[in-house]
Amino acid sequence: MKRFTYTRAETVADAVAILADRPQAQFLAGGTNLVDLMKYDVERPDAIIDINSLPLKEIEELPDGGLRIGALASNSAVAYNAQIQARFPLLASAILAGASPQLRNAATTGGNLLQRTRCSYFYDPSTPCNKREPGSGCAAIGGLTRMHAILGASDKCIAVHPSDMCVALAALDATVEVVGPDSARDIAFGDFHRLPGDEPQRDNTLARDELVTGIRLEANRFAGHHTYLKLRDRLSYAFALVSVAAAMEIADGRIVDLRIALGGVAHRPWRDPLVEAEYAGAPAEDVTFQRVADRLLFEAKGLGGNDFKILLARKAIVRALRQAASGRPQSQTLKAIQ
């Protein structure tokens, strides 16, 4: 691990000010991704700013019926929070589908948003990678592509975003709260993560000098019709090949409002609000679900090793929409898929 200095920030303003003075510094929260990447020499900060003392652990109700989750609330704290379980069960379910209890106890909400791809070429400094070393090339293209993108990839990068939590937050239209040296701003969740394009080194639209301080969720009517369906190479403690966060509001057998986001298929949680809007009013039945799947995957492209993901995603979307419509969300404990 490259050597670095250590500073503990006591306030948000303090943290942001220290970062402004140290261009190679990084914030450290739970450490479950950053410390790992530092061990592999993929991340090489010269200074670590420990933000664990900042007052950002609370999960609080907002006057408009929404919730605000502090950036330092652990993944476990969010998943088992009574308000989250009752009003945003899709989020709780997605978090419990990811990682292990040990990692969820340490990992934070802000850190989950900022975790980096698990592309094995990104993790291996002996191979070229445009995300790790801009301009060096992409060893994944033409390499082993089983875990890679089928949507939104570029000729510079085919990596996927690894988070489960973020797939649910995308479906729920969350808002990311960030603070910079001069001001605070909100970023709509759909604008937070980006596609690789020509700059795969940029995972998201957070500015270099900003800190994520929290996530806001608006009240919704999806608690009765939602599911998080995750398909992976083993039944627990593995990253998604394909995952689907689905939520809907149904009246008289018809979809009133539809949300669907995919994980494991692109450089960011994949959502297409135009497709969702198109099927508002459609009957909540298999024919509709198959059409939604076709539309979402219309531009999907395999790279050889991941061709199977297109059919897997199509079937997962139909299955997830069926689960959501019938009010029988996927259990994250009993692994059989109904």
């Binding site: 050597r3 250590y6 040990q102």
Partner: protein, 171 residues
Amino acid sequence: MDTALEDRFPTCPLSLTINGKPYTLDVHPWTTLLDLLRSDLELTGTKKGCDHGQCGACTVLIEGQRMNACLKLAVTLEGAAITTVEGLGTPEEMHPVQKAFVEHDAFQCGYCTPGQICSTIGLLNEGHASTREDIRELMSGNLCRCGAYTNIADAIEEVLADRASYREAAE
């Protein structure tokens, strides 16, 4: 690493409690809790498996919560109370979880066992497991290359059942 380079990165003072005993230390910021325990303090009960948060062999309890010691920089744990397998029981007076692991032969080589046991205690503290399926899912962060999973689940199931009957008797 030569001394001049090390001097550019001074150590940081750190006070924490391990198995009930207070420690006042000076650590380099890159020292993980796992390396602090094993190399500096010679508490080698906690094991290093993958060193990347993928196997759970290094699981310890930080403020009662199970976490991977390999991914925690020690310097971030100022004031924390840590429990390792050394703090749970003795050969004469084993912790109920240790006893259940022995009775159910819940290990073969034993390398993952300290992590399995600390993880089980974390699982009990969390209180989200009541069925065997819950146990299997909520212990998935601890790998066992000998494949003793069936017996590990048996041991934990027994501890859970004992706890339930203990609680019923108390009510």
